[in-house]
Symmetry: C2
Subunit: 209 residues, 2 copies
DNA sequence: CTAGTTCTGTACCAATTGGTACGCAAGTGG
DNA sequence: CCACTTGCGTACCAATTGGTACAGAACTAG
């Protein structure tokens, strides 16, 4: 398989997981090359050869984080009603940011705040905006489905969800318990418009007005 | 007044304001001594003589920030009903984190996320907890006043408010507009229990039993 | 075995970090 | 004028930052 040359002496995926962990706890600027290489169990030149410079390593770490730790977003989007979508997202978020054995809070929130002008912030904001757009689209579809009222604003609802979830992430890093955050979610969901249909999902094939 | 010696060549309050601004935008770790001294218009030894080391300067900056930029907390606490207290707090927060000419977001949220183990985080969490306790006490009083239902949980409501406001701060730093955030506040307030009395404040002297 | 390729480890780089020693300037009380 | 006290500026410190040069180790192809 490998064309030739000395084989890599470490598992590249395990190393990336270790990098995710460091960035998660320390943020981008707070994660030093020394701490990264120590956690990854490799030397500096190996890191540069395998992942590029620090910004590229961070991008790879963010991608991996989204794939492995933000699955609840896709799960939420797949729920049948807008209310369930929102609820699943916030509950999943509350659980994710308070998972024992993992750093409290959210990598994306944690790292975004540290830096100000660099391309990292743009990356994080982009990520956040993408998620918001996914929910906005989902809610537009919900309106087409008759699941949300026509005068509900899909963009506003999506922004609301991302705002609340950002708050959850901050508070988790603050040390607030999972139970408390789940209670916050239940309360926040009071402000989310209820399903217009009685919780059974209409199964019409597509939405033509 | 001054005992003797060469008079200070800069306004200590103005310098502190400049430090607040730097910490606000960059966070604690992100604010370097060089950037601080440049912004404050003084040399390093002057900074150390007047403010102590970096952590002490940060504490002074935080105090000043709370005094000058979080007045809406006291304003909110003085409102007659719990609902108005909560609404005033969130609205005031939304406005404060999106004030033109000032950095977007909240110093306390901004700086807290960067660091992890240091005493700075403890300071910020303490600050957050203090505010939360103030609102919890206010809501306990509201229950005594009959303004909130007896089965409303003052601690939970206070945590809810701080969680939402943290989300507002993050989103403001993200670039979300003031109007959007105000809309978020209106929505979040839907989840806050309404006043049990018709907006007129009972004026009984104190709460016994 | 040799040539070519790729990874590893040591040892280094310039730049920046927070923090300080010390001589001088600028005031006050005598 | 004199001590005395205090702030200012330069010039420095060790430690750490992100990043790299280079020699040699480990593998494959011939």
């Amino acid at each position: 398989m490998s064309v030739s040359g000395r084989p890599r002496g470490f598992d590249i995926d395990l190393a990336l997981d270790a990098a995710v962990d460091v960035f998660w706890r320390r943020g981008y600027d707070g994660a030093s090359l020394s701490e990264l290489t120590t956690a990854m169990g490799i030397n500096r030149p190996s890191l540069y050869a395998a992942f590029g410079d620090k910004t590229q390593l961070f991008q790879s770490s963010l991608r991996r984080y989204v794939d492995r730790n933000m699955g609840y977003v896709a799960t939420a989007l797949a729920q049948p009603t807008a209310h369930e979508v929102a609820s699943a997202f916030l509950l999943g978020n509350a659980v994710a940011v308070t998972t024992p054995g993992l750093p409290a809070g959210c990598l994306s929130v944690q790292a975004a705040v540290a830096t100000e002008g660099s391309s990292q912030l743009a990356l994080l904001s982009e990520n956040r905006a993408t998620i918001e757009a996914l929910f906005a689209d989902r809610f537009r579809r919900a309106i087409d489905d008759g699941d949300l009222a026509a005068d509900d604003d899909p963009d506003e609802l999506a922004t609301f969800l991302v705002t609340v979830s950002s708050g959850l992430a901050i508070r988790a890093a603050d040390g607030v318990s999972r139970d408390s955050l789940l209670t916050m979610v239940r309360r926040a969901m009071v402000a989310f418009p209820p399903s217009t249909q009685s919780s059974t999902h209409t199964d019409h094939p597509s939405a033509d007005s």
